[in-house]
């Protein structure tokens, strides 16, 4: 097997495996069907997943270095901007800009 055909096969396998994880729920449960448990899960997962995603993003930060301080400040800026102005884009740009300036200094 040549290198390129190995790469192409890997990509094919990964495409199928990834699409399977995305497609499965839509194949298993049809639209509009009354399924109390599924509806319960569907309604309550977004807030939980959002909480988990934030923690997941913050888990790699080295908190005993400046990186931890910068992350804390940038996060604070994002939150304060968002509570004060409620403009998602503005909050994200402000927080990211503060973080970029801090780590590149």
């Amino acid at each position: 097997m040549t290198d390129i055909s190995y790469l192409l096969l890997v990509m094919l396998v990964m495409t199928v495996a990834t699409y399977a994880t995305r497609l499965a729920p839509f194949m298993l449960f049809s639209r509009g069907q009354e399924r109390p448990l599924i509806n319960f899960i569907a309604k309550n997962t977004p807030p939980m997943v959002m909480t988990i995603l934030v923690i997941y993003m913050l888990k790699g930060v080295n908190y005993s270095s400046f990186e931890g301080v910068y992350t804390f400040i940038a996060l604070l800026v994002t939150i304060v901007f968002h509570l004060y102005r409620r403009n998602a884009l503005l909050s994200i740009i402000a927080g990211t800009a503060v973080y970029m300036v801090a780590v590149q200094m």
Binding site: V10, M11, V13, P46, Y99
Partner: protein, 224 residues
């Protein structure tokens, strides 16, 4: 509609572009032509899995193992789909693409934002998905193509993903107002961080969903 979608997905641009560039640079070290990084962004379109693939390609890992690893790494999508079962309209090419393009970021956006009244929801979601993938493909290509000659310092730009999820978390909090859900998610995250650290994402999602199902079951038993 396009202007509104660009504004909505701009945070995803800030997140995907530097991450895509990082992938492209890493991929380039394997020695394949740059356009395979583009192709991977188009076909596979999964950040974490693509990074994992670079390591596995370098080591020449078998296809079966790659398939299984990819499936488990991405299996959190199973739960994302559940929350969007009724959001993607009737079956057709557009729906297949909307499902194909489901990522952490687009899921987070779609379950939190309210589509402006004047726009068709499925079309709006379609454009969100299309634009987001374009940013990713663009990033992968730039990284692989210009890995040595990039002069814009994107260091720290990936904080945009953290900021995006934080903003969406605040929005969820203001919208949902069920403290228990956030407490359960936080607790699940702490437990799975200790147990799995690197692979806490899926474990935390499974644990938190299991917990609220058990809590609901206990509550309904009490009411009987």
């Amino acid at each position: 509609m396009i202007r509104s979608v660009i504004k909505t997905t701009l945070p995803i641009l800030f997140g995907f572009l530097p991450l895509g560039i990082a992938f492209g640079i890493l991929f380039q070290e394997l020695g394949y032509p740059w356009y395979f990084a583009t192709l991977m962004g188009i076909c596979v379109y999964a950040g974490a899995a693509q990074f994992m693939a670079v390591g596995m390609l370098g080591a020449g890992v078998g296809l079966f193992e790659i398939a299984i690893s990819t499936f488990f790494l991405n299996s959190r999508h199973l739960f994302y789909g559940l929350a969007l079962l009724n959001s993607f309209g009737a079956w057709g090419l557009r729906k297949f693409y909307l499902i194909f393009g489901l990522t952490d970021e687009t899921y987070a956006l779609m379950t939190t934002i309210t589509v402006p009244k004047e726009f068709n929801r499925e079309r709006y979601y379609f454009l969100i998905t299309l634009f987001s993938q374009s940013y990713w493909v663009l990033g992968c290509s730039i990284g692989a193509l210009a890995s040595s000659s990039l002069d814009f310092n994107t260091e720290g730009m990936d904080f945009a993903a953290t900021a995006l999820f934080t903003v969406l978390l605040i929005e969820q909090w203001l919208k949902v107002r069920k403290p228990l859900l956030f407490v359960v998610a936080f607790g699940s995250s702490c437990i799975t961080l200790i147990l799995f650290f690197q692979h806490m994402l899926l474990a935390a999602i499974v644990l938190s969903i299991t917990t609220i199902i058990v809590l609901r079951f206990i509550k309904s038993k009490k009411n009987d």
